[in-house]
Point group: C2
Chain length 271, copies 2
C-alpha cells in the first residue's frame, strides 16, 4: 500500500477502515496519494488487517481505541506513530477519527492546506461541505434505515434520489463552482483550484465526490455539464493529473466503486 | 445579544444565522455564552438583521460572502473583524462557514479546547459526531425531501424516526458515554467532562444535541436514562451549570425549540 518515495521525516500513518470499498476512507487515501507520502491501508494490506480495524474501531464496548486514545464512533480512523522501521506502533500512537478531523490534521502535515490561517479555514469549509454531499448521496439508497438493504427501502429511495438530483446536487455544484470562480477572480488557482494557488484538500475532496457522482448518476451528471462546464470539465480533469494522483488513479490501490457510498442503481438516476 | 463582560482583547464576533430558531447556530451561541465572550447574533439583534445574513450567506448567485471571503454554502457563518468600538466590520473581516469549522476556530480562541494537539483533535471528533447525530435527527422529520413539508413525507418519517430512535440514538449515546468514561478513567473530567479536565466544545455540543433529543423524543429519552444514567443525568445536568451557560439558559437569548432541527411530533417518539 505504500508509495515508493522516501519517508524518513514522516511518522507511520495507518489508515483504519473497511476493506474493498473506497468509502469515506478514500478521502484520506487521496490525501496521502496526492502528497506521495507513504501510509498503510491496514484492512487492505493483509488478510488479517481488518480484524485489527474491528478490534480498535468497531467494537461497541470499546472504552478506548488503543494507546490510551478515546474510542472511535465509526471508521475511518488514522493511527499515527513513530513506527520504528516499519514495525509496530504500540508506543504512544495518536489515533484520530472522523473524516474531516483527519483531513484537517493531514492538510497541514502533508502540505495540502494553505499556510495562512484564513486559507486553512476556507479549505476546511469546502471539505466539510463536500463531505455533507457525500452523506446525502449515501442517503439516496438508504433514506430510512441505515442497516437495512436498499431493496427494503427502494420506494423511499426513489423519492430521496429525485430530491438529491433535482435540488441538492445543483445547489452543491453551484457552490463549488462559485468557490472556484471566486478564487480565480481573487488571483489564485487560475480556475483550476478552489482555494489558493495550488492543490489542497478542498480540490481532492470535491473531486472525489464529483467522481462518485459520475459513477452513481451518470445521466444526471452528463446533463449537469452544460450548467457547470468548467467545474465538471477542466477542474475535474485537472485534479486527476496532480501530484501523485495520476499514478494512484491508474494503480490497483484505487478501489472500484461497488456497494459503498456511491452505488449505481439506474432507477435512481435521471430517467 | 451581547454578554456584559469586557471584550477589550477580543475581535468583533458576528453570528450570521436564521432568526428565531436555535438550529445549528445554537452550537456557536453556546460557545460564546459558555466563555462569556460578547458576540452579536445579527438576525436576532435587529429587525433588519436577517437581510444582512441573506445578503452575505443565502444568495445563490454570490461569488463572495463579503470582504473578499469565499461564498457561504449555508448559514451559520461567523464574521470576525477588528470592529472598532462596536462599529462596522468592513475592513478585512474573516468570514467562516460550516458549524464544525467555526467551532474549531472558536475552541482555541475562546479557551474551550485543550492546549495540547491530541486533546484538540479528540474534542473535535466528538463535536463532529454530535453534529452528525444532529443531522440524523433533522432527517427524522425530513427523510426524503429537504424543501418539502413534514406532512408530505410523514409516512417515510415514521420509518426514519423509528430507525433513529431504535438504532442510531443508542449507538451515539453509547459512544458519548464511553468517551466520558474513558476520560474519567484516564484521570480527567471526573465523569463530568468528555475530554480533559474542564469544559470544552465537546461537552457543549453533545449537551445541545441531548437537550434537543429530550425535546423531540421525550419518551424515548426517558427510557434511555436507565441505560445511560450518568450521561443523561450528572453530565447533562452539570453542563447547564458551567461558565456562562447557567445565565444564558435562563435568559431570553436562549430561543425555544420550534420548527428547526429538533421538533416534537408525538407520533415520531417512542409509543
Amino acid at each position: 500500500m505504500s508509495q515508493p518515495s522516501s519517508a524518513t521525516k514522516h511518522p507511520l500513518y495507518e489508515l483504519l477502515y473497511h476493506p474493498s470499498i473506497p468509502g469515506r476512507g478514500e478521502f484520506i487515501r487521496l490525501a496521502f496519494e496526492a502528497a506521495s507520502i507513504p501510509y498503510t491501508d491496514i484492512a487492505n494490506a493483509s488478510p488479517e488487517g481488518y480484524a485489527t480495524v474491528q478490534h480498535l474501531c468497531t467494537n461497541p464496548q470499546n472504552l478506548e481505541s488503543g494507546d490510551g486514545n478515546p474510542p472511535v464512533f465509526s471508521p475511518p480512523a488514522l493511527r499515527i506513530s513513530s513506527g520504528a522501521a516499519g514495525g509496530g506502533s504500540s508506543d504512544g500512537a495518536l489515533i484520530l477519527s472522523q473524516t474531516p478531523n483527519i483531513l484537517w490534521y493531514l492538510g497541514e502535515k502533508l502540505g495540502l492546506a494553505p499556510g495562512d490561517e484564513a486559507g486553512r479555514y476556507h479549505v476546511q469549509q469546502v471539505v466539510l461541505t463536500a463531505l455533507d454531499l457525500n452523506n446525502e448521496v449515501h442517503d439516496t439508497h438508504h433514506p430510512v434505515a441505515v442497516m437495512k438493504y436498499y431493496e427494503e427501502q427502494k420506494e423511499e429511495a426513489l423519492k430521496k434520489a429525485q430530491d438529491v438530483r433535482e435540488n441538492r446536487i445543483p445547489k452543491y455544484l453551484s457552490y463549488f463552482d462559485r468557490v472556484r470562480r471566486h478564487n480565480e477572480q481573487s488571483g489564485g488557482g487560475q480556475g483550476r483550484y478552489l482555494v489558493g494557488g495550488k492543490l489542497t484538500l478542498a480540490d481532492n475532496t470535491v473531486w472525489q465526490v464529483l467522481d462518485g457522482l459520475f459513477f452513481a448518476f451518470p445521466k444526471e451528471m452528463e446533463a449537469r455539464k452544460k450548467e457547470f462546464p468548467e467545474l465538471l470539465g477542466a477542474f475535474y480533469d485537472g485534479v486527476k493529473q496532480e501530484g501523485g494522483l495520476k499514478v494512484y488513479l491508474g494503480s490497483k490501490r484505487r478501489l472500484p466503486y461497488s456497494m459503498g457510498v456511491f452505488r449505481h442503481y439506474p432507477e435512481l438516476d435521471r430517467q
